[in-house]
């Protein structure tokens, strides 16, 4: 009987193709926009989370709280303290440094380039791998001996030396008032997605290079930050427990309260960004969902017209033995099919837009099945809800009056 009703409904809708399509259009646009907006939001979230994975999800920065007024000299970290932290936590910390960085003009022959120097330890390659094109990475000797060795980014090498293979070449620069002459020991290449480049932005005219962190110790070998990567094998809970212990330990070491230290973690930041993005996409999706209600009203409107037009047919059917329920189901099926077809086309349209946009932007589009399920059930509810009034109007009509209707 259900199949029968559906066939009957399809026949009725086919009889008015243009009208049926225009009615569906409301639902198509509604569902399409909800799915595309929510999925674009989801895609952005997944991109952000992959970016955080790239930059190291276990990464964190620890420093004295920015709200502390009486910052003492002892609140800064020394190299010894960093090694002590590393020793105490052992395997839990896979990398630690001072997050020292400097920006300075580099000169080689007649070329000048502003370079952002990042001070790193020799094992930074373990947590933030880069592709070494020529030469080698910084080694233990470079760091311990405070050698003026640099690993230069390929583009920077090209601009500074005219060639990517700049191993062995030297450049001069002035960092914190001291003139250094760096020898390029290696050239690396950085892989970034189009989206990542977009986010980083503006670094195109500036070069990048890694140098031993032991060179960037101004002033007096003390640092504001303790920058570390926790062991990647830790679960989120273990990671949070580790962070808690770390802050407690450092606070004890510095004779401070635990609350005086500020720990910035990639994990926390990612959660924050994620929740903002999720909220945003929900809000915009919710606004788009209003268009679904408008589509539903379109269905109700056209079903009311259809019921009036087919008053006589309803009368005939009732005279031939259709019960109130039969007529109700017939018209409900029609409105449900209208919104279901609209929903399916809307899903294809919305999904298509998302995948097309993803392909253009070079990212993997994410369309959650849950969103599709939600959109489909919403359109079904819309179809049934807005079909109910016209259908019950049809079902309740008096066969005598309906048969007399011209």
């Amino acid at each position: 009987m259900l199949f029968e009703n559906m066939k009957m409904a399809f026949a009725a809708l086919r009889a008015n193709k243009m009208r049926s399509f225009l009615t569906m259009l409301g639902i198509i646009i509604g569902i399409g926009s909800v799915i595309s907006i929510v999925s674009i939001g989801d895609t952005m979230r997944s991109m952000f989370s992959s970016i955080y994975k790239d930059i190291g999800i276990t990464q964190s920065y620890l420093c004295i709280g920015y709200w502390i007024d009486d910052v003492r000299e002892s609140d800064y970290f020394t190299m010894d303290e960093l090694s002590r932290v590393k020793e105490v936590f052992g395997d839990e910390i896979s990398y630690i440094d001072s997050s020292a960085a400097a920006s300075a003009d580099a000169r080689a022959d007649r070329n000048r380039l502003k370079i952002n120097f990042t001070g790193i330890d020799y094992n930074y390659q373990n947590v933030q791998p880069v592709n070494i094109l020529y030469g080698r990475y910084l080694n233990k000797g470079d760091v311990a001996g405070r050698r003026q060795s640099a690993v230069l980014e390929a583009g920077s090498a090209r601009r500074l030396f005219g060639t990517e293979n700049a191993v062995g070449r030297t450049f001069r620069t002035e960092i914190y008032g001291n003139v250094h002459e760096f020898t390029v020991v290696g050239v690396y290449e950085k892989e970034m997605s189009a989206f990542q480049k977009l986010l980083m932005g503006g670094t195109d005219d500036e070069g990048e290079a890694f140098i031993p962190w032991t060179l960037l110790t101004w002033p007096n070998d003390s640092f504001y930050y303790c920058h570390l990567f926790a062991n990647e094998t830790m679960s989120t809970d273990e990671l949070n427990a580790f962070y808690d212990e770390l802050v407690s330990y450092v606070a004890r070491m510095k004779n401070r309260e635990k609350e005086d230290f500020y720990l910035q973690t990639a994990l926390g930041e990612m959660d924050q960004v994620d929740s903002i993005m999720a909220g945003l996409s929900m809000a915009v999706g919710g606004i788009a969902a209003i268009s679904l209600i408008v589509g539903g009203i379109g269905i109700m409107n056209i079903m009311l017209v259809s019921v009036t037009e087919r008053t006589r047919e309803i009368g005939i059917r009732k005279a031939l033995g259709a019960r109130t329920r039969d007529v109700l189901i017939q018209f409900l099926t029609e409105s449900a099919i209208l919104s279901a077809c609209g929903g399916i086309i809307g899903i294809l349209l919305g999904g298509g837009i998302v995948f097309a946009a993803g392909a253009v932007m070079g990212v993997t589009a994410v369309v959650r099945p849950g969103v599709i399920l939600l959109a489909v059930s919403f359109s079904a509810v819309v179809g049934i809800f807005f079909g109910l009034y016209p259908a019950s109007k049809a079902a309740k009509s008096d066969p005598i009056i309906a048969l007399r209707y011209e």
């Binding site: 029968e4 026949a11 059917r317 031939l320 109130t324 329920r325 048969l403």
Partner: protein, 271 residues
């Protein structure tokens, strides 16, 4: 409808209901198996707000199984009202209508639908076929509502269309057929659930004379096969086909008599 009118109707309906209950409890109506229709003290009042119009005034009528009856009268005589009640499209305000022994006044709208589906085959003046359905689908419709299996339904619809002489046009749409052919489809549809009563409301009203007589001959044939046929008409030459003619005027039966000379098949040819 005014508030007063509504109230009045409610009171009327209530009274009818109470009366029906009382009748059922005390004296069950005599019910003979050969009586298909039994109408007792039937009244129908239309309330148009300002005036009450008496549609039917105290009608008593019995139609036996296998009869071929015509109901005649001018427009406004009450014959359409009686037709609606006989067809279970409407319920009497007062009095009783027993169809095949069932008291119609006591039934709910959905039960009336069931009665119409199983007990009555309708043939209307304006054919009332569903225009976007083919002949065979139209004939299948009452069986759809009777939940007959699809295959059986189709077989019977084809068989019935062959019986009314439309075997070659089963897939034609109503607008591809002449009036006479459409009315034949309607008759096939009326026979679909093999109902005890065939009720035709001015079945020849939209047809030319030749088609009219063909249709009436079809009814005669059905009657000869044992069907009970009631035809509502205002044309004497149509009524002439039937065995019994009931005349209406101002909501009352003014005459009910045997047709002295029903038109037989042979006679039709001479006309």
């Amino acid at each position: 409808m005014t508030e007063k009118g509504k109230l009045r109707q409610t009171v009327f309906a209530g009274a009818a209901g109470l009366k029906a209950l009382a009748v059922r409890k005390t004296e069950l109506p005599e019910y003979h198996t050969d009586e298909l229709i039994r109408i007792v003290n039937l009244c129908k009042v239309y309330d148009t707000g300002a005036v009450k119009v008496i549609g039917l005034n105290n009608i008593n009528l019995t139609i036996k199984r296998g009869e071929f009856v015509s109901i005649m009268g001018q427009s406004g005589s009450g014959k359409s009202t009686l037709m609606n009640i006989l067809g279970c499209l409407d319920r009497p305000v007062l009095g009783h209508y027993y169809l095949d022994g069932i008291d119609i006044a006591a039934l709910e709208p959905d039960q009336l639908s069931l009665i119409r589906n199983r007990k009555i085959g309708f043939v209307f003046q304006s054919f009332n076929l569903i225009s976007r359905m083919s002949a065979v689908k139209n004939v299948e419709l009452p069986m759809t509502y009777a939940r007959v299996a699809k295959k059986k339904r189709n077989e019977r619809a084809v068989e019935l269309l062959e019986r009314v002489g439309l075997g070659g046009r089963i897939h034609h749409m109503p607008n591809e057929m002449s009036g006479g052919q459409r009315q034949r489809v309607a008759i096939a549809r009326a026979l679909a659930n093999n109902p005890p009563l065939i009720l035709a409301d001015e079945p020849t009203g939209n047809l030319d004379t030749a088609s009219s007589f063909e249709i009436m001959e079809l009814f005669s044939a059905l009657h000869r096969d044992g069907a009970t046929v009631v035809v509502v008409t205002h044309e004497e030459n149509i009524a002439a086909f039937t065995d019994r003619i009931i005349r209406f005027q101002d909501g009352k039966i003014i005459s009910d008599m045997k047709n002295p000379g029903p038109v037989s098949e042979g006679k039709t040819k001479n006309i």
